[in-house]
């Protein structure tokens, strides 16, 4: 090989690498005008939407690959690929669907969940940031591009899968909750049976509230309960829901930024020196919270659903009026009766203090006797 050719061949690779580096290097942009930024932003947003559409289309393709009639039980239709799940998960899923179908019927009754029932897609995925370190999980998602997915992680049991399926259907059942009811509940209308823990939390909220109407509710006033639950119209929420001592409690719960000496001083004046005029001024500067919290309000919602029986969700979709009127229509009883029922349930769930039983008393006495005896022996 001639010398010039050897030189050219020797330089080709370094030059190619250098050229590729220059071309691939990120281009550092310089400051631009508002119009240029605007044009680039609009282009980027459109590009993003196109990508989003492609991703949605791809997802639809994936869904289309799964057999449409994999398994049905009642109004529950599940689509999945047997080959993907494998025989063990297939058996677990079959058991879960049977359980879930029963739960759905008991919990949602005649609720409309999709045009011809709920269609869920179940797939097996590798869950985790790194594939090698990930673990198997089952993904449950609502068909029809509703976007909600719920992973069931290992160990995958029938109960866990059934709960995930029922939870998904709850999304469909509470779809038609009237907007004012949803707003009243703090956008929290969980479609599931209440547990003892839910009631106990509500009872604690009621018993420890610093609101005067919550206290009247506790001592027996149904009207007080309706007000404390935020179900009645109030003209001045601060004075109607809270007494001056409650204003102070509200202000005391603030985390005041020390960067504002005027506010810090006023806060101290209210909390430490108990100047009620200052407490009122401060309390009015922020939204006044509904006395009973969001989780407590959801117990009333779920109680109305439980009282309403099989037609509760159907009635919920068609009901009109204030949140209390809607819940009363769903439960099929008068508003005051529903709230009274809620109060009875809540008070029944107040946790009792620890009372020593016969065993504890015996152990106590035994220890006392033992130490007494030992002390006597020592003295002698």
């Amino acid at each position: 090989m001639s010398e010039p050719r050897r030189v050219v061949r020797g330089l080709t690779l370094p030059l190619a690498i250098a050229l590729a580096s220059v071309m691939a290097a990120p281009r550092v942009s310089t400051a631009q005008s508002t119009a240029q930024y605007r044009a680039r932003l609009i282009a980027a947003l459109r590009d993003r939407h196109a990508l989003r559409d492609s991703l949605d289309a791809l997802h639809a393709h994936r869904i289309a690959e799964v057999p449409p009639d994999s398994m049905s039980s009642g109004r529950l239709h599940v689509r999945y690929s047997k080959a993907t799940l494998g025989p063990s998960l297939d058996a677990t899923l079959r058991g879960a669907v049977r359980q879930a179908a029963g739960d759905v019927d008991a919990e949602f009754g005649d609720a409309q969940i999709g045009d011809s029932g709920a269609v869920l897609v179940v797939s097996r995925v590798n869950w985790g940031m790194f594939t090698a370190l990930g673990f198997d999980a089952v993904l449950v998602e609502l068909s029809g591009g509703r976007g909600r997915m719920s992973p069931v992680r290992s160990p995958i049991t029938e109960r866990k899968l059934a709960d995930a399926l029922v939870d998904m259907i709850g999304t469909l059942a509470t779809d038609g909750v009237p907007a004012n009811v949803s707003r009243w509940a703090g956008y929290h209308t969980p479609a599931r049976p209440l547990t003892h823990d839910d009631w106990e939390a509500a009872a604690l909220d009621l018993a420890t509230s610093n609101s005067s109407v919550a206290r009247t509710c506790y001592s027996g006033s149904v009207a007080g309960c309706e007000s404390a639950l935020g179900l009645t119209t109030v003209r001045d929420s601060l004075s109607e829901w809270y007494t001056p001592e409650g204003w102070r409690a509200l202000v005391a719960s603030w985390n005041v930024q020390p960067g504002d000496p005027a506010l810090a001083a006023a806060h101290a004046e209210c909390v430490d020196k108990k100047v009620m005029a200052t407490c009122e001024r401060l309390a009015r500067s922020r939204p006044v919270p509904v006395p009973l919290d969001m989780a407590t309000r959801s117990t009333l919602f779920n109680l109305a659903i439980a009282r309403g029986g099989r037609s509760a969700y159907a009635k919920l979709r068609s009901a009109h009026g204030t949140p209390l009127e809607v819940l009363s229509a769903v439960a099929g009883i008068a508003p005051d009766a529903l709230v009274d029922d809620w109060r009875t349930h809540t008070l029944a769930s107040v946790p009792h203090g620890v009372r020593p039983g016969a065993a504890e008393a015996t152990v106590l006495l035994a220890w006392t006797a033992l130490f007494g005896f030992a002390a006597t022996r020592r003295r002698s």
């Binding site: 550092v28 930024y37 980027a44 947003l45 990508l51 997802h59 994936r62």
Partner: protein, 387 residues
């Protein structure tokens, strides 16, 4: 067989290979049971990554566009802002869609912020631009959730150059929750942002202004005359908004490496988007980043801490000095600025020791351990048997 180094190394490599083959999990993608549909999955993952990158790019462009647009508005309404006198308080310009209730609340909060500083106000003209933050589309393109972010209010400031009179301009964006009446701007929110320094102490000296510009005003974004650092002040001032554990420069400053303390003040304070995103196609905006919450962190409250420590009178002399911030601070206090920054770092995060730290106890323990090992060896080691 003699174990030579080469044989030992070969055995190690071989053992590692055996362990690798036996213990490492197989690549799950070829396994038909591990993935739902591998050919779609790979494509979907690629698209998702592209979408995420495009999302970050769009957010950075939106931030840069908003900063440039704010500066444009400030220039457009400069004459209107200039018509008010500094003595009468900041001149406030409201965008046409800001409702009356929000206008009243903003005016009330700004007046209260000024009043809380007593006579320290009205030293330099300040303007405030108030917008709503509810845009859902831009030229028909839908803005994704998170673009019109603050639910309550966000604040930022523009560099003091847009208007003819060089006034500092604060920008307030009112969020959806306030506009819907579901929330109100809390009374402890300082809406003047860093412009409060201009209002309280006038225009800064030339070199200090240049330093503020070069750091996008990142060291002075809030002003209060609260007492010097108490435990609660420390708690509220200290945050990871502009600092994280891997900030070696801060750690060295806390360890009394004073040149690093000086260097800390020369670092550009870049907003989180530019700090985390690997996207150089959108330049860092010249305007400071917006804060949705009261300004936290070491950087953003540095000048505020200085005011509280040396007092407003002496701080005013530092602020208005024609010298650099280091020289001005030294002239007024007799202490080097680096030393003060070091003290500030220690106040917030405790002292730091650079390098290893053997204490007397650990040294004694080490010597005792070595002595014990030697004694045990001498006592119990087997002696070589002589032939």
């Amino acid at each position: 067989m003699t174990v030579t180094p080469m044989r030992w190394a070969s055995a190690c490599v071989l053992a590692c290979l055996v362990l690798g083959v036996l213990l490492l999990p197989p690549d799950p993608s070829p396994d038909q049971f591990a993935e739902w549909s591998p050919r779609w999955t790979a494509h979907e993952q690629t698209l998702t990554k592209q979408l995420n990158a495009r999302q970050i790019h769009s957010r950075m462009l939106a931030t840069a566009y908003q900063a440039a647009s704010d500066a444009d508005v400030a220039r457009r309404v400069a004459a209107q802002l200039a018509s008010a006198s500094a003595r009468n308080g900041p001149s406030i310009w409201f965008d046409s869609d800001v409702p009356a209730s929000a206008r009243s609340r903003v005016s009330q909060l700004i007046a209260a912020e000024q009043t809380s500083r007593g006579s320290w106000r009205g030293k330099s003209p300040v303007g405030v631009l108030v917008f709503t933050d509810t845009a859902a589309t831009l030229a028909g393109a839908r803005l994704p959730w998170g673009f019109n972010g603050p639910l309550i209010a966000s604040t930022t400031m523009l560099r003091a150059t847009p208007g003819a009179d060089g006034r500092c301009v604060a920008v307030v964006r009112i969020g959806r929750r306030v506009l819907r009446g579901e929330d109100s701007i809390p009374s402890d929110r300082h809406l003047l942002d860093g412009c409060a320094f201009y209002d309280a102490f006038g225009s800064p000296g030339a070199q200090i202004r240049a330093w503020m510009d070069s750091s996008t005003a990142g060291f002075g974004r809030d002003l209060s005359f609260a007492p010097p650092d108490s435990a609660t002040v420390k708690q509220s001032r200290w945050g990871f908004y502009d600092f994280w554990y891997s900030d070696w420069r801060f750690a060295r400053c806390a360890g009394n490496d004073l040149p690093e303390c000086s260097a800390l003040l020369r670092m550009p304070t870049v907003s989180w988007q530019w700090r985390w995103a690997n996207d150089l196609s959108v330049p860092v905006p010249a305007e400071p980043q917006a804060y949705n919450y009261p300004t936290p962190g070491f950087n953003a409250t540095l000048l505020d801490a200085m005011v509280r420590e040396i007092g407003p009178e002496r701080f005013e002399r530092v602020w208005q000095s024609p010298k650099s911030i280091d020289s001005a601070y030294f002239d007024v206090t007799g202490e080097s600025l680096a030393s003060w920054v070091h003290r500030r770092a220690v106040t917030l995060d405790g002292p730091y020791h650079i390098g290893p730290l053997p204490t007397t106890t650990t040294a004694i323990l080490t010597i005792v351990t070595i002595a014990c090992a030697l004694a045990l060896s001498a006592r119990f080691a087997r002696r070589p048997v002589s032939a």
